[in-house]
């Protein structure tokens, strides 16, 4: 029973004031709470995508198969390479998450030089991802994907054509393979990846600010690199969201 008493006492002391109950700074706690609310926003978008997609089950022109649309790769024009480019984008984002967490780790050691170095790598990763996304959007728009219309209603003939195409084959749409399809497919593609891309962009801006501050020695004078941790939390969250966009948009 002695244990129980001391545990109760500890709990009371935890919330009795005079200490941080979560052993966390104000800013970091607020970042966690912001990320929780952002998680709800993104899950609404993704679950809304699911609901609308399910509402098209049994439609005469079915919801398109993502592999039939996102099958381009830079400098490999005309080849059927579904999922490859998004996998590369996923890799870029995961790798920039690693450099971010290395910057946080360097911040724990108060190493100004290393924090600046890894923040720089993270910014490069962020720009690389944004560039990839711009390329992806350009391809989609080029193939007649619009916010208010979608030319990816794949006909019976189109599916017969796709059936014979293997990974790495030459591939071009024939006349009559495609028709006007479910509009929400295209609009939700722009909205969800656009909302995520805007998060990446904001993250890059924050990363640049922290990078400049760390180089100027602001955090060194302050005595801690907590700002790197806070921005890092945001950056990892963006990576986390991409994991689910990748799963629901491209895999399923």
């Amino acid at each position: 029973m002695a244990n129980q008493t001391s545990a109760t006492f500890e709990n009371q002391a935890m919330w009795a004031g005079g200490r941080s109950p979560f052993n966390l700074s104000y800013g970091k706690l607020m970042m966690w709470i912001f990320l929780l609310s952002d998680a709800f926003t993104f899950s609404s978008l993704l679950v809304g995508y699911g609901a609308i997609r399910f509402s098209y089950s049994g439609a005469s022109i079915a919801w398109p198969d993502p592999a039939a649309i996102f099958n381009h790769f830079p400098f490999m024009h005309g080849y059927f390479l579904p999922l490859l480019f998004v996998s590369v984008m996923t890799f870029i984002l995961i790798f920039s998450s690693v450099t971010m967490v290395l910057a946080v780790e360097a911040g724990h050691r108060n190493s100004k030089k290393e924090v600046s170095k890894y923040m720089f790598y993270t910014i490069i990763g962020g720009f690389a991802f944004l560039g990839c996304q711009a390329w992806e959007w350009t391809q989609f728009i080029h193939d007649q994907g619009r916010l208010d219309s979608n030319f990816f209603g794949i006909t019976q003939q189109g599916y017969e054509h796709l059936k014979d195409v293997k990974f790495g084959d030459h591939f071009h749409w024939n006349e009559g393979d495609r028709t006007w399809g479910p509009v929400p497919f295209a609009s939700l593609f722009f909205i969800v990846t656009g909302f995520h891309g805007f998060h990446v962009f904001s993250g890059v801006v924050l990363n640049i600010l922290v990078w400049i501050n760390s180089m100027r020695g602001v955090y060194e004078r302050r005595g801690h690199y907590e700002m790197v941790e806070k921005v890092g939390l945001y950056w990892h969250f963006v990576d986390l969201v991409w994991v689910f966009v990748f799963t629901f948009y491209y895999l399923i």
Binding site: M14, V98, T247, I252
Partner: protein, 112 residues
């Protein structure tokens, strides 16, 4: 932030920053290889398994595993106090209700 007058040594909720220590980079790199491995596995399964509900369940499961490692290792949730972890993670369970509710409603929305 300087408006909060406090005596030295006293707890100051606005400016308090806990002391942190480096846990090394070994676990971080391990997490990276794990995430990369699962993504490659996703890629392989996409082409080797025929589309089915089971395959979708596998993909969602892999997504949740990746989420666990990103939040746990990269965002240091494993090193935070359990109270904070519960405050942030338990509310995300509501999303499961949203998923089940809206996917069920999706069939009802159908006009076909």
């Amino acid at each position: 932030m300087g408006n909060f007058a406090h005596t030295p040594g006293e707890y100051d909720p606005i400016n308090y920053v806990p002391h942190t220590e480096s846990h090394g980079t070994k676990e971080l790199w391990r997490t990276f290889w794990l995430l990369l491995g699962i993504t490659i596995l996703d890629f392989i399964l996409y082409f080797t398994m025929p589309p089915s509900l089971f395959r979708n369940v596998v993909f969602v499961f892999f997504g949740l595993v990746k989420a666990y490692y990103i939040v746990g290792a990269f965002m240091h949730m494993k090193n935070e106090k359990i109270n904070l972890a519960m405050c942030i993670l338990v509310p995300t369970l509501f999303i499961i209700g949203l998923v089940m509710g809206l996917l069920y409603e999706g069939h009802a929305l159908s006009t076909y």
